[in-house]
Symmetry: C2
Amino acid sequence: MKILVPKIVVAQNEPKLNYNDHFVIYDKKLLEDKIFKNWVSRFRFKYAVEAGEKLKNLDLFSDHIHNILRIAEGGSRINSFVAVGGGSVGDFTGFIASVYKRGTGLIQLPTTWLSLVDSAHGGKTGLNCGAYKNQIGTFKFASAVYVVKRILQQAPEKLFYEGLAEVAKTALFDSSVFKILNSAKIITPNYILKNSDAIIRAKYKVVKRDPYESKNIRQILNLGHTVGHVLETQYKLSHGQAVTDGLFFTLNWSLRKGYISANQHRKIDDFLNEKLQLKRSEIKRPLSENNFLRVLKQDKKKITDKSLLFIFMTERQSVVVEKVTFKSVLIEAKKQGLVR
Amino acid sequence: MKILVPKIVVAQNEPKLNYNDHFVIYDKKLLEDKIFKNWVSRFRFKYAVEAGEKLKNLDLFSDHIHNILRIAEGGSRINSFVAVGGGSVGDFTGFIASVYKRGTGLIQLPTTWLSLVDSAHGGKTGLNCGAYKNQIGTFKFASAVYVVKRILQQAPEKLFYEGLAEVAKTALFDSSVFKILNSAKIITPNYILKNSDAIIRAKYKVVKRDPYESKNIRQILNLGHTVGHVLETQYKLSHGQAVTDGLFFTLNWSLRKGYISANQHRKIDDFLNEKLQLKRSEIKRPLSENNFLRVLKQDKKKITDKSLLFIFMTERQSVVVEKVTFKSVLIEAKKQGLVR
C-alpha cells in the first residue's frame, strides 16, 4: 500500500503527467516563468496559492477545501495531487492528498532549494494552529519526485544557502553524500542539482527504516536542529542559518563529549567552513537562561520533563542519538557563548 | 503498524483506561448518566461535544482543534483519542486521531445502536464540506472497541430499529450472523447486545480483506444502500428505514435477475418482515425519473458516467457485486413503484 521511496526524476523541464486527473497546487509566483505557465495551463484541475506559512494556517484550511472541491467539480475523481512549490506548498498539498476523499496519490515537484533537498521528502505534512507549527498533519509518501532544473536554476543564490545547510546535515550522517560534496572543488547550485538524486536518496535511507517516526531512527534527520531551532526562534534567523549554527554547536559538543577526535573535528569544520562556505552566526547578545530553556523544552524530541534526545556526530562520519538533560544542553550553550 | 481488527470488549460498564494520556471526546448528552459522568470526570483531557452532523462541519474544525490543543496543554503527549458517542462523534474523533500531531491511537466507545453495529467499525472517518458528506477524511482503525451495555440499554427503542437495519444487512452477507438472529425467538435489544461481538466481527471480516476500499470487496457493506440512499435523500427517511427499503428493493431485484430462487426470496422476506420486524415504507408519491437519477448518479459506487456497482443477494446467503447501468436501476425502481 505505502510507497516509501518515490520515483525520482531529474530533468531540465516539467514532466508529462496525466493532465485530466491530476490536481496541481502551485506557487503562483511560478507563473512568471513562461514554460511553467504553459505547462500548468494544460491541467484540468489547478489551484494557484501564495506560498508561505499563511498557507499552512489551519483556520484557512476549510476555505481552501471549498475552493478545491469547486475546482474538482464535486464528484470527479482525482488520481493524485501535485505539489509545485517550496516547503509550505508541499506540506499543505501533502496534507490535502492524505485527507481528500480519504486519500489520493501525491507527487512532489520542489521548486526551492530547501524543498529540493529536504522538505519535499519523507512524507511529513502539516498545518499550523496559531503559533504551534504542524499540529495537524499526516505521514503521506509521494509516489514520485520531479526535480525541474530550469526552475531551480532561477532561484536566488541566498536561498541556495538555505538548502545547503540541510545538504551539509545530510553529508554528516551519510558518508556517500559527504564524499560527493568533498570531491568537488567548489559547490555550485548546478553541482547540487546534478547530485540531487543521491542527496534525496540519503534521506530516504533513514526514512524507510522509521517511516512513522516511531523508533528514534528518524531523529537522525534532526542533527543540528535542536539548538538551531532555539536560535531560529529567538534571533529570527533563517532556517538555513539556524541549522548551520546548530551543526557547529553539535560539532563542538561532540568533541567535548569525546565522540569525535580533534582531527575529525577539524575535518568537519573545514568541510562546513571552507568547502560549503557555511558560516556560524556572530552572537553579540547571548540569550538568558530562561529564554533558552523555554524554547528548548518545546522540542519535539523531549522525552521527559528533564531530558530530550540529542544527535551527536561520531568519529566514523556517522551519528549517535543520546538522551541528555536540558541542563546539560544549557551548560554547553554557555560554554559556546549562546547563553549568558 | 495498522491494527485492522480491534480488541472488542462487551461489558456492563465503562472500561478502565489510562486517565492521564487518553483524550476523551464525548457526546455531552451522556452527562445525564451519573455513572458515565463520574467515569469521564477522571480523565485529565476531555472535550464535550454536541452530537450531530454539525459536529462534522469542516468549517468548524479549526475551532475544535484550537479547543483540543488548549485542553491538551500544547505540548503534552496524547496516547489515544477515545470517541464516546454515535456516528458523528466517532467520525469526528477518528479524523482527529488520524491528524493530531500526525496521528495518535483511537478507541471507539459507541453509544448508539447504529454506531454499535456499524459506524464505529471499519476505520472510516470524515468531515462534511457544505452539502457534500465525508469529503475530508481518512482510514483510521481503532485499537479497541468497548461496548458499554448499560448505556445502550438506555437508548430509545426507535433508535434500536435504526441499528437493526444494518444488522439485517450484515446477516444477509454473513451467514453466521444470520444464524444467530434466525435462531432467536424474538430479537430484543439485549439479544443484539449479547451478540454484538459477532456482529462487529462480521464487518471486520470484510474490512480486513479490503481496508482502504481499493478492491471492490468493501462494497459488500453497501448492500441495500444504493437505492436506500436515494430514498433517504428524497423522502428524508431515517437511515435505518432507508436501508430497510434498500434491502427489500435488492431482494426483489435479486429474484428478478435470477440470483435467488423464490424459496430464498421468501426466506429472506420472512427474516426481515417477521423476525426483525423491519417494514418497507409505503411510497405514496413515487419519484420523478430525474430526481431518482440525479441522486443515484452521486453514488460513490459510480464507475462510469452510465454505470455503478450494485450488490445483489445470492442463493447461498451471500452477495455478488455486479456492474449495472443507471438505466437498469431506474427500470427496476419503476417496477417496484419507487419511480413514476
